[in-house]
């Protein structure tokens, strides 16, 4: 595979991974008020094919954040216990938004690299033109 094809491939994997991250983030944000919801986190890892690092990035397993759920006081809530509390979600919107910003930034950087690899390879193709 040529270097340009390889870099397009690697960049596309980066785009995909960031998009997946954004998907889980929006899931978390959408469920910020769901009782008992634990926020989902995914990790990034370098892909290995036949024991050899390809440089592509992929997302690892989805894990649930095991930190304590927020206790919400609402005696009228159907799920409230004797003390009037029920388990909220452990989603922190500030963290999610900050993470989403980071994902966006990385996504844009990958997009720029994709565009550049494309330009460089089309410059190479232009050599064939008279």
């Amino acid at each position: 595979m040529s270097e340009f094809a390889k870099s397009l491939d690697v960049t596309a994997s980066g785009l995909k991974a960031q998009a997946q991250r954004l998907r889980h983030l929006s899931e978390n944000i959408a469920n910020a008020d769901t009782p008992g919801f634990r926020r989902k986190t995914i990790s990034f890892q370098t892909e290995f094919t036949a024991g050899k690092g390809t440089g592509r990035v992929e997302t690892g397993r989805v894990r649930l954040d095991q930190s304590d759920l927020k206790q919400v006081y609402d005696p009228t809530h159907p799920m409230a216990d004797k003390t009037g509390h029920y388990d909220g979600s452990n989603v922190n919107l500030v963290i999610e938004i900050a993470d989403a910003r980071e994902a966006q930034r990385s996504y844009e950087a990958n997009l720029k690299m994709f565009e550049q690899a494309r330009q460089m390879s089309s410059g190479l193709m232009d050599l064939l033109r008279r």
Binding site: L8, F44, A109
Partner: protein, 129 residues
């Protein structure tokens, strides 16, 4: 000039170097959020040229390589930056990679224009006009 077309070989090597460096930068960028990933880079073309003055063709740099003009173990293209890393061990800085990407793009464009121009010179030498 016309006996030995060094300029083509040189611009070829330059464009090729830019291409491989670009691939590494793209890889760094894609792994900008991977925990424990160390940024990789090639040495600049200038330094690469100084260590490989003999020719610009692939060489056998390891025992497992099939052919090539002898081993040259001193030249390892991948340099790992030992700069400051993030708490998760990732040492990629998107800003640095962006600057390097622009540098590489310019190097590639330069190499291609040199190639194109040399081709024009050759063409005008052989054309009947």
């Amino acid at each position: 000039m016309f006996e030995n077309l060094d300029i083509f070989r040189m611009s070829h090597a330059m464009a090729r170097h830019a291409g491989s460096r670009q691939a590494l930068i793209a890889q760094n960028m894609a792994n900008a959020d991977t925990p424990g990933y160390a940024a990789r880079d090639l040495q600049p073309f200038q330094a690469y040229l100084e260590t490989n003055t003999a020719d610009f063709y692939p060489k056998a740099t390891r025992a497992g390589h099939l052919q090539g003009a002898g081993a040259n173990h001193s030249h390892d293209p991948r340099i790992r930056h030992e700069g400051q890393a993030d708490p998760n061990g990732n040492s990629v800085s998107i800003e640095t990679e962006m600057v390097k990407a622009v540098e590489v793009k310019r190097q590639h464009d330069r190499a291609l224009s040199i190639y194109k121009h040399a081709l024009t010179v050759l063409r005008s030498a052989v054309s009947s006009r």
